[in-house]
């Protein structure tokens, strides 16, 4: 009964989405206040019904209702309850419902919090979001119904993929989706701007807080994914340039460029068409990512149950939404000209270069991810483009980006005013280089060119980021949220660089064979296999090892890596043992029984790896602090007056 209610709720949501789209766009076009009001009501209604559907699916999981096909495929009576709830979004159909829920949430937020926007503009935004909702709801109802019944009902479910049976499943997808989907708001703002043919840049100020909010979620979501892969998959890697990872990283790069570009457009009315194109691109890349992981065109560890028929639907949807937006862009953008100027070393210059580098990085990742597809489609054979390629080429635009970042954040608008800071910046650069050399030599025992470069850039960015708040505080000047946030976020970027350089340049991995009682040494740490035992979990059996780690005779910790075999079958899963430290992680994964009491183990020394995720969190935090700056909230009062003065042109 409840699944049927859920199904029906989705149908109602679809009808409301159609109403939302129609009344939103037509109401704005005809100036019909009643229609625009209807669109807003449709938003609320749609949110209610999608929430209802989501609740129905969740309840089916909690109640272990194996008469629902999706529940039977992704759950199991032995599955602990929190995983049963998280399993709602563990596979294709349910994750689409999560997409729809996030979209409806963002739409509701925009509708409720944008009362200061011009009515027609807001209505168009709502209408466009409605069009996107239609796409997802239609997709679900026609090809991917989460409420499809299994007749006769299964006695036992197939179980959630053991790799997903982890705490991170409860938070990674929802946060990631809030980010992905949140870019739809910027997309809708951009499209509304293009539809109205607005020549001014007030839309940039409106768009900025929404974009930052979505971007924060995406930053945290991607970091969670990386951290999860690290401790769950057992091979100690934190980024694999898998198509699905790239599918989330590309919108992030576009979003980062967008945030910075919005700043210029808002401040100086410049780069309007670039900013609009970035706003369209960020969400387009989100949709592209959805297509790539659900259509089967690319091989990916993350891919959902792929089906070319579904792929075709998404492709059609993609073509309409993105194609429509890009045609809109081609039509309206040529009229967006601005007459302002700026000097060579002004902030605008640096932000322009920033965007150039970010877009170059984005382009490289897109090309690398899709190249095998291009070649196969042209019958030129099958190739693979993997981490060795991406690791190399990604550095090409990133190195100059990091270098200029340290200078650009001090640049002022319009004029080149860097001369007074020249000496201080050179000083920081010099200190950064020295620390980099010392770190390589003293801490890790050898100096490597790439590692030195990485460390130097990391310290350069960190030092430069600290300069601003420190000097302001010392001069007892105000430190607005926007400035503090920017400094923290950039400092975070430096920290990420530090972590990546440390782990990539100085990590040590060794596969060893040990019998109980034997030990080996890596990077000054002794790893002793102290014991082996059987373990049993709620839905698995396994083997657990006690690995004692000590250094200079002092015991540091005992790790308990496991090898698990889930009752529902499948490949054995590895649960690594990780010792977390401020300067390094120590990572132990159990291999296989080699016979005669010996087991193989993979031991890893991962210096500075935690700073990757800590830095990412700081980036998100900085964004949050900047986004909450009083300017965005204060402006609301004065905005109505400004809005009235800036009429959109037809």
């Amino acid at each position: 009964m409840i699944p049927e209610i859920g199904h029906f709720a989705l149908i109602l949501a679809l009808l409301l989405a159609i109403a939302q789209a129609f009344f939103g766009l037509a109401g704005a076009a005809r100036g019909q206040v009643a229609w625009m009001q209807a669109a807003r009501s449709a938003v609320a209604g749609q949110a209610v019904f999608i929430a209802l559907a989501f609740g129905a699916l969740t309840s089916a999981f909690i109640r272990k209702d194996f008469s629902v096909l999706y529940v039977a495929t992704n759950s199991n009576s032995e599955l602990p309850i929190f995983y049963r709830i998280a399993a709602v979004w563990g596979a294709h159909e349910g994750s689409l419902l999560l997409w729809a829920l996030c979209l409806s949430g963002w739409t509701l937020a925009v509708t409720a919090l944008s009362t200061s926007l011009q009515a027609a503009f807001r209505s168009r935004v709502i209408g466009i979001l409605g069009l996107i909702s239609i796409g997802f709801l239609l997709f679900m109802l026609t090809t991917s119904n989460p409420f499809e019944r299994l007749v006769p009902a299964a006695v036992e479910g197939r179980d959630l993929n053991p790799l997903l049976q982890d705490f991170a499943l409860t938070i990674h997808p929802p946060i990631l989706y809030l980010g992905y989907v949140g870019f739809s708001v910027a997309f809708a703002f951009a499209c509304a701007t293009l539809i109205e043919g607005r020549l001014d840049s007030t839309w940039a100020r409106w768009t900025r807080p929404w974009t930052i909010a979505a971007w924060i979620f995406l930053t945290v979501g991607i970091s969670l994914g990386s951290w999860w892969a690290y401790y769950e998959l057992g091979w100690g890697g934190w980024w694999f340039w898998d198509p699905v990872e790239n599918a989330s990283f590309m919108p992030w790069l576009a979003g980062t460029a967008l945030i910075h570009s919005l700043a210029v457009t808002e401040k100086r009315g410049l780069f309007k068409s670039w900013t609009l194109l970035l706003a369209v691109s960020a969400f387009s890349l989100s949709l592209l990512g959805t297509f790539l992981v659900r259509s089967g065109v690319l091989v990916s560890v993350h891919a959902f149950a792929t089906d070319p028929a579904r792929g075709l639907f998404i492709l059609g949807f993609l073509t309409c939404v993105i194609g429509g937006a890009l045609l809109l862009y081609a039509w309206r953008a040529p009229r967006l000209k601005s007459a302002a100027g700026f000097e060579l070393a002004a902030r605008e210059s640096f932000l322009l270069f920033n965007n150039a580098f970010l877009v170059a990085a984005l382009g490289l990742i897109l090309l690398g991810t899709l190249y095998p597809l291009f070649m196969d489609a042209l019958n030129l054979g099958k190739i693979s483009v993997g981490p060795p390629y991406f690791n190399m080429v990604f550095m090409v635009p990133m190195l100059p980006l990091l270098l200029l970042l340290g200078i650009g954040m001090h640049a002022t608008w319009k004029r080149s005013h860097l001369q007074p800071l020249r000496n201080r910046l050179i000083g920081i650069a010099a200190v950064a280089l020295v620390i980099a050399l010392v770190a390589g030599a003293a801490v890790y025992g050898h100096i490597r060119p790439m590692a030195t470069l990485g460390f130097a850039l990391a310290f350069w960015v960190m030092g430069s980021s600290l300069m601003i708040p420190l000097s302001r505080l010392r001069a007892r000047q105000a430190l607005p949220g926007a400035v503090l946030g920017m400094s923290i976020a950039h400092f975070g970027a430096g920290l990420v660089t530090l972590g990546i350089t440390g782990v990539q340049s100085f990590k040590i991995e060794q596969d060893v064979a040990l019998a109980v009682g034997e030990a080996t040494t890596i990077a000054g740490y002794d790893f002793r296999l102290a014991a082996l035992r059987q373990v049993q979990g709620p839905n698995f059996v396994g083997v657990e090892a006690d690995v004692l780690i000590s250094s200079d005779g002092k015991t540091i910790t005992t790790l308990h890596p496991q090898k698990r075999l889930y009752n529902s079958g499948g490949n054995p899963m590895t649960e690594a043992g990780i010792e977390v430290g401020a300067a390094r992680d120590l990572f132990v994964a159990l291999g296989e029984d080699l016979g005669q009491g010996r087991w193989s183990l993979r031991l890893q020394y991962k210096p500075l790896i935690r700073y990757i995720w800590l830095g990412a969190l700081l980036i998100a935090l900085g964004g949050g602090i900047a986004g909450l700056d009083r300017r965005y909230r204060r402006v609301k009062a004065g905005e109505t007056a400004m809005d009235a003065a800036t009429e959109p042109s037809r």
Partner: protein
């Protein structure tokens, strides 16, 4: 009973390495080369892992081949050629530099130089505007 289950567990786990071979090459230089090369080769069964990380038995076989070829003194290029003759370029995670992949390898330079060129052109035009009309730049810049 416990021992039986223990034996069962061991049997089940045997043959499922985490890509972990306890057999190492004696020469540390060779071992390092081996570790580097196996991380550039794609597992054809679990197609999202390197043969270094994959649990598939084919990956273990391929790792064995790489080890043996290294001990015979074959170069990395020869080992790659051995594998691509049998499995095609798909097995290389670092795509070969060939006429078909020229765009892939030229892209970093192209995109970087292209982006820099466009940015430079725009900046030059705007700086000229600024020089022509310095009065417009008079107001104090706001926060970022």
């Amino acid at each position: 009973m416990m021992r039986a289950a223990w034996v069962l567990a061991s049997v089940l786990f045997a043959g499922s390495a985490l890509g972990i071979d306890a057999e190492r090459l004696d020469d540390p230089v060779l071992q390092q080369r081996y570790e580097h090369l196996t991380r550039e080769l794609r597992c054809l069964v679990c197609q999202n892992e390197t043969i270094a990380d994959s649990t598939a038995s084919l990956a273990a076989d391929l790792r064995r081949e790489v080890r043996e070829m290294m001990k015979e003194g074959k170069s990395d290029a020869e080992i790659r050629a051995f594998l691509t003759e049998r499995y095609g370029d798909f097995v290389l995670y670092l795509p070969p530099v060939s006429p078909r992949t020229w765009l892939l390898w030229a892209a970093p330079a192209l995109l970087l130089l292209g982006g820099v060129a466009v940015a430079a052109l725009v900046i030059r035009r705007r700086a000229r505007t600024a020089r022509a009309n310095p009065a417009a730049l008079e107001e104090e810049p706001e926060n970022p």
